[in-house]
Amino acid sequence: MSPVLLLTASCRAVHLGDLGNLARVIWQFLSLSLFSLGGGNTLLAEYHHLSVDKFCWLTSSQFADLYALAEAAPGPSSMIVGLLGLGAGWPEGPFWALLSGYGAELAILLPSTLVMVMACLSWRHFEHSPWRMAFERGMGPITLGILFAVGLKIVRTADVTRAGQLSVPGVIVSLVVCVLMLRTRISPLWFMAIAGVLGAAGLINR
């Protein structure tokens, strides 16, 4: 238990009060929105940086839990932002937590939605523009690089023990799931369910 307490204590949250906290949550996600290339998962490492390292809303293992929750729950997995907002507001009580959760989700979606609406209304004008071609082809490799960095970051967040060391059984499960995701069409819910059972049996520690 104590190492976790130590780790949390080492991250000092600057307390702004409930409204100040809400405003900060909303501003942080508003300013990231337009950088969600390639479907939004590219922002996961930034979310970790904000909520764990910078503002201490969550511990690293709580972040991993919320990521898994958002992947397992029905609906777009990009809704993890709502869970991070919820975590940021949790110390102020459930009411502020929910407000902060809804606020965070609205904030991450609003700028990209406005751009998308403008894009739909003027698509005919730039469908064949060189800007569009260059953007589409140029952003692909960048997205590829980001996704590998995000994958590594999530593995390093999820598969660690309380003492901060890499959990070997955890890494093995992650690698097996990664291969199965690429080679089979089995629903990932099965992988999470089976790994949950392994965890309950004490085979995957952290």
């Binding site: 940086h49 898994a68 729950a73 609906g75 698509w123 490799p141 590829l144 598969d159 992650s174 004490g202």
Partner: protein, 190 residues
């Protein structure tokens, strides 16, 4: 008659119909397959748009920032009713799953310190990390024959994972370089 004429499209949906239609997509997709359901309901059942318009939407949704499935809802709504339509479609798409997720989140923060819950989560999280790890490999094949793309991706990866640089500056620097390299050399056919 060589081939049957395509069935005529339905009249453009109003805000309420957009909201209800996207709600229907979200509810049908419980358990996965959001984009397949959205095509089935919007194109085949409701006949709001043709297959071709829907595919254009997917292209636009993937190109612009934002989660693909959510951008697709925005495209469908904006296509018919502009910004209000986009917001109605978005609300329909997110209302039920997001509320459910918030309830799950409240439950999580109330019980996650229980040892039994923590043990189960330790396993679930390892599997979820495997899913995150597979994302890059999934699109790696597209760039197999493009060494410049692979080099660019490797630079971005190293900058983020080992250089401890943040995403925003990395994208702001590498983005224009990549766009300049991939600028179409021949004039684009209209």
């Amino acid at each position: 008659m060589t081939e049957p004429a395509p069935a005529p499209l339905a009249p453009a949906p109003d805000l309420r119909q957009l909201f209800v239609g996207m709600l229907q997509v979200a509810l049908s997709a419980f358990g996965g397959g959001l984009s397949a359901w959205s095509q089935r309901i919007v194109v085949e059942q409701k006949r709001w748009m043709s297959d071709e318009e829907f595919l254009t939407g997917l292209t636009v949704a993937r190109l612009f920032p934002g989660p693909n499935q959510i951008n697709m809802a925005v495209y469908i709504g904006a296509n018919f009713r502009g910004l209000p339509g986009a917001l109605a479609a978005l609300a329909g798409m997110l209302l039920v799953p997001f509320t459910l997720l918030m309830a799950l989140g409240l439950l999580y923060f109330s019980v996650h310190t229980l040892p039994a819950v923590d043990r189960v989560l330790a396993g679930v999280v390892a599997a979820a990390a495997g899913m995150a790890l597979s994302m890059g490999f999934k699109i790696l094949g597209e760039y197999r024959k493009d060494p410049v793309a692979l080099g660019l991706a490797a630079l971005v990866f190293v900058a983020l994972a080992f250089g401890h640089l943040r995403l925003v500056p990395v994208v702001l620097v590498s983005g224009p370089i990549a766009m300049a390299w991939y600028w179409p050399r021949r004039p684009v056919e209209p």
